[in-house]
C-alpha cells in the first residue's frame, strides 16, 4: 500500500516564519521590512498578486515530491476553484484538493465546474468536502441548515453530483435538490469524478461518508484517540457497506536537531501575548471535531512545554497560525518516526504543512519523507 503525501497551499497569505503570527506574504498587509507584498509594491496594484506566490508554493511541492495540496476555504481566503484553475497551467502533476461545502454551489454546477477543471488540469482534481461548522459562520456563507440536516444534504448533494456526471439524463427529486434530465456535455462527462476527502466526526458524518467518501480526513489528535477513531471509522463505514481510508492533516516543525525545532516553538510561543492566547485557541461553530480539541488548553498555558501532549506532539499550533492545535515538532528523524507511527495506527494519506510553505515544502520533501519506513511511497514516482 502506498501513502499519499499532500502539501497545503495557504489561501490567506503565508508568513516568512513560524515565529511570528502574521500573513506577511501576500497582498494582505502593506510592504514592510520582513514582508513581501505582491501586487501592492507602492501601495497600488503592480501587476502581480498573491496567486503568483501560491503558484511558487505549488511548484515547490510538486518538485519536492508531494502529489498535490489542500486548498482550504474560509471566509477570508481566496477561492479554491479560482486558485486551482489559475494554477492548472502553472503546474504539471500537482493535484488540487479543493475544500468546499455543498451549500456553496448547486450540485449540477459543482459537477460542471469539477469536470471542466479536470479537463483544464488533465485530471488532477481532488475534493475535500466539508459539512461541519454551523452557527453564524454558516450564515456568513449564506447557509442556514442545522448540523444533522447538513450531512443529509451533503449525501444528497453528492448523489446528484455523481448522477448528473455519470448517469445522464439524470432525474432527481429529493429533500434539498431537484433536477430534470440533468447531465454534462459529453466531453466533460468522460472525466473521472474526483477522489473525495471527507471531514466530520459525528455519526451523521460517518453515515454520509460511508456512501460517498474515499478518505476520512481528520486533524491531528492524540495518537491513541486517533487510533480509536480510525478503527471506528473503518469499521462503521464497512458496516454501512463501503469501507474508507483515513487521512490526517499534520502541521510540522522539522529541523536538523530536536533542540532547534523546539526553539522555533519557544520563540513563537513567547511572541504571542498571554492575553490573546485564549482567542487564538478557540473556533466557533457546532463542529464535533472542534469541540474534541477544546480541552487542550492553549489559553491557560504559561510555558510552551505545558502544551506538549506526547513526544514530539505539541498542542499550541493554533497560537502560531490559524488552524488545528496539534502538530509535530522535532528533528527530521523524530518527525519521520511519528509519521510512521501514524501510518501504523491507520493513516493512509497525509496533508502536511509547515511555515513558510514555500521553503518548507523542500525541507520536508527532502529531509523528512525519505526517512519514512518502507510503507511510504518512493517519492521519485510522484
Amino acid at each position: 500500500m502506498s501513502i499519499d503525501f499532500y502539501w497545503r497551499i495557504p489561501t490567506h497569505g503565508c508568513s516568512s516564519s513560524i515565529r511570528q503570527r502574521n500573513s506577511n506574504r501576500g497582498d494582505w498587509s502593506p510592504l514592510a521590512p520582513g514582508n513581501q507584498a505582491p501586487g501592492l509594491r507602492d501601495g497600488a496594484p503592480d501587476g502581480t498578486s498573491y496567486i503568483d506566490h501560491m503558484a511558487e508554493i505549488a511548484r515547490a511541492a510538486e518538485i519536492s515530491g508531494f502529489v498535490g495540496g489542500l486548498l482550504p476555504s474560509f471566509p477570508m481566503t481566496d477561492d479554491p476553484w479560482v486558485i486551482s484553475a489559475a494554477l492548472a497551467r502553472a503546474t504539471k502533476a500537482f493535484r488540487f484538493m479543493i475544500a468546499f461545502q455543498p451549500g456553496f454551489l448547486s450540485p449540477v454546477r459543482a459537477a460542471r465546474m469539477s469536470a471542466s477543471l479536470q479537463r483544464a488540469t488533465n485530471g488532477r482534481v481532488v475534493y475535500n468536502i466539508i459539512t461541519g461548522g454551523g452557527g453564524p459562520a454558516q450564515r456568513w456563507w449564506g447557509d442556514s441548515f442545522d448540523h444533522d440536516d447538513r450531512y443529509d444534504r451533503t449525501t444528497e448533494f453528492l448523489d446528484v453530483l455523481k448522477g448528473v456526471w455519470k448517469q445522464a439524463p439524470f432525474d432527481h427529486k429529493g429533500r434539498f435538490y431537484e433536477v430534470a434530465g440533468g447531465g454534462l456535455p459529453e466531453a466533460l462527462a468522460r472525466e473521472d469524478i474526483p477522489t473525495i476527502y471527507f471531514s466530520g466526526s459525528s455519526e451523521a458524518a460517518l453515515q454520509s461518508a460511508a456512501q460517498h467518501a474515499d478518505y476520512y480526513l481528520s486533524w491531528l489528535e492524540p495518537f491513541e484517540q486517533l487510533r480509536a477513531k480510525f478503527a471506528q471509522v473503518k469499521a462503521r463505514t464497512a458496516e454501512l457497506g463501503r469501507g474508507i481510508k483515513c487521512a490526517i492533516r499534520v502541521e510540522v516543525i522539522a529541523r536538523p536537531t530536536e533542540e532547534e525545532a523546539w526553539r522555533e516553538v519557544e520563540i513563537g510561543f513567547a511572541n504571542v501575548a498571554a492575553e490573546t492566547r485564549g482567542s487564538f485557541g478557540r473556533q466557533g461553530g457546532d463542529s464535533v471535531g472542534v469541540h474534541r480539541l477544546a480541552g487542550i488548553g492553549a489559553d491557560s498555558a504559561r510555558d510552551y512545554r505545558d502544551l506538549i501532549v506526547s513526544p514530539n506532539v505539541w498542542g499550541g499550533f493554533s497560537l502560531l497560525r490559524p488552524g488545528p492545535a496539534l502538530g509535530l515538532v522535532g528533528s527530521y528523524e523524530n518527525v519521520a518516526a511519528r509519521l510512521d507511527e501514524l501510518i501504523d495506527l491507520g493513516a493512509d494519506s497525509f496533508i502536511l504543512a509547515a511555515t513558510p510553505h514555500l521553503e518548507e515544502a523542500y525541507r520536508v520533501g527532502e529531509e523528512v519523507l525519505p526517512l519514512l519506513g518502507s510503507r511510504a511511497p518512493r517519492l521519485a514516482a510522484a
Partner: protein
C-alpha cells in the same frame, strides 16, 4: 462610456474539437488514465491561445459565455487570468448556480488575480428546460428579482460590511469580504438577455433581440466579395450576422456603434483564424471610422 470591443469565446464545431482529449477526437491519445495525461495538451491550451490572440490583436476583452454544452465559465475565466495581461474578462454568471456569497467570493479572487480585469455578465437567457436540467426551478417572473438580490448582496459584502440580507433567494449574516475585496472595485455589470427592466440593473444591457448599450454580433469578413461568397456557401450564419468585405463590415459596425453601443462583442467560428481577421482587419478600420466620426462631430 468609451467603446470597448470584446471577443466572445463561443464554441461550436471545429473549435470544440481543438486540443480536445478523448478517444473520438484523438485516437492516438493514451487511455483514460489520469497519470498518463500529465503534460498533455488539452482544450484549455486552445482556449488560452484564442485569449492571447485577442489580446495581441487589440481586443479590449473577452466574453466567456455559459453554454450549457460547454466548459464552465468560472473555470475558464480563472484558467485564463494568468494567460493574459490586460484583457478584460467578462464572465457569464448564472444566478441559480451558487450562493450569492460564493459568486462574490469567486469574483473577489478573480479580481485580485487579474488586477481588476473582471466583468460580470449576468445570464438571463436560459429557458426553463435548461434551468431544470441544471437543477434550477425558479419561475420566469422570479429571474430578474433573483438577479437583483444577487447583485445587492454581492455589492453589500464587497468591502467591510457587515451586510445582512435575508431575501427570497439568497441570505447572508454579517457578510463582508474585507481584505479580499480591498483595493478592487466591484466588477462592471452586464445583463445578458432579459427585458427593459434588466437594463436598469446593470451597467450595460445586451437585449435578447437587437442591441442597446451592449451588442453581440457574429461577423463574417473577407478581403473580397468573392471570398465572402465562397465562405457563405459553406456556412450558415445567424440572420443578424454582419457580413461583407473588411471595409463593409467595419462600416456596418461603425453604424451600429453610432446607435449608442459602448460594449461591442464579436464572434465567429474557427476562432483562432477569425480573431486574427477581426483584430487585424476590422478593429483598425472600425477605430479609424469612429475617430473620423468624432472629428467630424467636433
Amino acid at each position: 462610456m468609451t467603446l470597448e470591443i470584446f471577443w466572445k469565446l463561443a464554441e461550436a464545431g471545429i473549435d470544440r474539437r481543438r486540443g480536445e482529449w478523448g478517444a473520438d477526437a484523438r485516437p492516438w491519445a493514451p487511455a483514460a488514465d489520469a497519470r498518463s495525461r500529465d503534460r498533455q495538451i488539452n482544450h484549455y491550451d486552445y482556449l488560452a491561445q484564442i485569449a492571447r490572440a485577442a489580446e495581441l490583436t487589440g481586443f479590449d476583452g473577452l466574453l466567456i459565455p455559459d453554454d450549457p454544452d460547454g466548459e464552465e465559465p468560472w473555470i475558464v475565466t480563472s484558467a485564463l487570468v494568468r494567460e493574459t495581461r490586460r484583457l478584460k474578462i467578462a464572465t457569464a454568471v448564472v444566478p441559480g448556480s451558487a450562493s450569492a456569497v460564493y459568486h462574490a467570493k469567486m469574483a473577489a479572487s478573480v479580481e485580485r488575480f487579474s488586477g481588476g480585469r473582471q466583468i460580470w455578465a449576468i445570464d438571463l437567457t436560459r429557458d426553463a428546460a435548461v434551468r431544470a436540467r441544471e437543477g434550477d426551478f425558479a419561475i420566469k417572473a422570479d429571474l430578474l428579482p433573483r438577479a437583483e438580490e444577487l447583485v445587492t448582496l454581492a455589492r453589500g459584502i464587497w468591502g467591510d460590511g457587515p451586510h445582512d440580507q435575508e431575501g427570497r433567494f439568497f441570505l447572508v449574516e454579517k457578510g463582508a469580504l474585507g481584505s479580499l475585496a480591498a483595493h478592487w472595485s466591484f466588477p462592471e455589470l452586464w445583463m445578458l438577455g432579459g427585458n427593459a427592466d434588466a437594463a436598469t440593473l446593470g451597467d450595460v444591457h445586451f437585449p435578447a433581440q437587437g442591441t442597446a448599450g451592449g451588442a453581440s454580433v457574429t461577423i463574417l469578413a473577407r478581403e473580397t466579395q468573392a471570398d465572402v461568397d465562397a465562405e457563405l456557401a459553406r456556412l450558415s450564419l445567424p440572420a443578424d450576422a454582419v457580413i461583407g468585405t473588411y471595409d463593409d463590415v467595419a462600416q456596418q459596425l461603425a453604424v451600429l456603434v453610432g446607435t449608442g453601443v459602448t460594449r461591442l462583442v464579436l464572434n465567429a467560428g474557427d476562432q483562432i483564424r477569425e480573431v486574427h481577421i477581426a483584430g487585424e482587419q476590422i478593429l483598425p478600420r472600425l477605430r479609424q471610422l469612429l475617430s473620423g466620426a468624432d472629428r467630424a462631430a467636433a
